[in-house]
Symmetry: C2
């Protein structure tokens, strides 16, 4: 039986502090003072990012566990620091819990956050918590990057190759299953051959994403990436953001897209392509590099045991952003993705 | 007529970006990339603090304006950086808006945040926003402090003098008026002589607090303060926190407390004392200094044109924390203040 939340703010802060204790880098002053004091690496620039997960908007509390929610709340921020080529350092968290939250769920969130932090060498140095009408988790992550080495969205140039790490579409496939309570979302048909194990793995991909911290850091430190963004809202939204910031166009080869085989096995190739383009939350890295750097990008891929696929090329802005299929037909990138204030 | 919130996430982020534009220190990379890139002062330590304001818990949307809410959301964080003796630098904000929020209210929040940031030389460098069941604002503020100069809660020693900046009790008096919709809260009686202007000023003190940034910075840089905390939850909660962190006791002279004359004029001396001790949100600084530093503390007070009152003394831990009245009677500090998860 789940116990109802019977904890004071202080008790919960104490619990988070206990979870967070054995972390490096040890802050000079951690949880318990007016502010945390951090020793960031000298001669570096400071990175800051913040992401908000709200019940009913970004997730549903009933679909996930406290621990997975805590992990994901930090993971999405780690992905942002990775996309800048930075090293994550310390985080603070603001948590809003409805009064109906069970103690087990709340502790799970804290434990998930602390576990994710520990496995990425991030210190959890402060936070704030309160009663709220809907559960939310807001993590702010501080990182560092060597001076002038941050990889922004604005450095892509015509001729650059366009790459994506890992595979895309599995998270959206999992979300579709969750939204349909084990059955597919509207307009989706699960293939009769799809096993329970496939379904579970797609759902796991959605609930417990793995940010590409090592790849982002390596692409930044080596100077290989000329521009980079993480795929949080899907290629169809994130590629246009990168192109707009860089004032360029792009062409994406459909056949080169690393569509996750979970998505294909569950929903067939047509829907899987749609999930890979318009679904979000893969937290893979989309980046550009000079054509001459292709061998080094591939060497990095082998070194990290992480597939990195060349999916297209950067073009002048007037070329717009298009996809090309195997028959050489060009199409505009489909609009799509998630918009919070859409009614 | 208030227009309903008809804005996309991107529109609102653009609006915040416009509000935030003319700020110094200019971030190396500001709003619009995966993370902001900051140039913090060299040879400094980094400060991080986060504070959450939630409708129905920390404030009521109907009692305040968007602009005042935005100001306060940053002010409470500025107060935390001040209490460490630090210099605020850059902030990020996470905003949750119910779908019923008007565009004017949402823009007010952004404008209030940006105004407060500008007047304290803070850059608004990023954020996240989404639909939420209850309005909330979560600001994370990054600051810096010269290496080893952060003023923690743990440096007070027996014999140190105990000081408070400004006056206390006005914010709690204002909150009491708001809670009673212009009439006083439960157990409170407004004096018949209290004018509308007094009421308005007390309410303003609650809705638009002024953090003691210059005083905190000066107390840190000069090394005068041996320990410091900001009065966010009231003396009766914050002094025990400082004493616990420093492993000391304290005695507070009731007659020395700088009780705000708004509180006294509105509710009489007895209730005003209670508001000053147990009310919160004054965002004044409570700090300790060596007795020999008394002349320098007073010189600082004159220099900043800010009253700084010596209200007591730090004692060994076994002496506990007590108040003493004009007749020499000792009492335990009254428990009180705000606890979020209390039912």
């Amino acid at each position: 039986m789940a116990r109802p939340l019977a904890l004071t703010e202080q008790t919960f802060i104490d619990f988070i502090a206990r979870c967070a204790r054995p972390l490096r880098p040890k802050p000079a002053v951690g949880i318990g003072d007016d502010a945390a004091v951090l020793n960031l690496p000298p001669r570096s620039q400071t990175l800051v990012t913040t992401d908000l997960l709200t019940d009913g908007v970004h997730f549903r509390a009933a679909w996930t566990t406290g621990a997975l929610l805590g992990r994901k709340a930090l993971a999405v921020n780690l992905s942002d620091i990775a996309a800048m080529g930075g090293q994550p350092h310390s985080c603070v968290v603001a948590l809003g819990f409805p009064r109906s939250t069970t103690l087990a769920y709340a502790r799970g969130v804290a434990r998930g956050l602390a576990d994710m932090a520990r496995s990425h060498g991030v210190a959890l140095v402060g936070g704030d918590t309160c009663a709220a009408r809907a559960l939310f988790v807001n993590v702010t992550l501080i990182g560092s990057v060597e001076k002038g080495r941050a990889v922004t969205r604005s450095g892509a140039r015509p001729g650059d190759h366009l790459y994506v790490t890992g595979t895309i579409g599995a998270s959206a496939a999992g979300l579709s299953l969750l939204a349909g309570r084990g059955r597919p979302g509207p307009g989706m048909v699960i293939r009769p051959t799809a096993s329970q194990s496939l379904r579970r793995r797609a759902i796991r991909a959605h609930l417990d994403p793995h940010p590409r911290c090592a790849a982002g850091r390596a692409l930044g430190l080596t100077g290989l990436a000329t521009s980079m963004i993480d795929l949080s809202d899907g290629l169809a939204q994130d590629l246009p953001r990168l192109c707009a910031a860089s004032s360029v166009g792009a062409v994406v080869s459909q056949s080169a897209l690393p569509i996750d085989r979970l998505a294909t096995a569950l929903f067939g190739p047509g829907k899987a392509l749609q999930l890979a383009l318009c679904g979000g939350e893969d937290y893979e890295l989309l980046f550009t590099a000079r054509p001459a750097c292709e061998p080094m990008v591939m060497a990095l891929s082998r070194r990290l045991s992480l597939p990195i696929r060349r999916i297209g090329q950067i073009l002048p802005r007037r070329a717009a952003i298009r996809t090309v299929d195997t028959k050489g037909r060009y199409r505009s990138l489909p609009a799509g993705g998630f918009e919070h204030f859409r009614r």
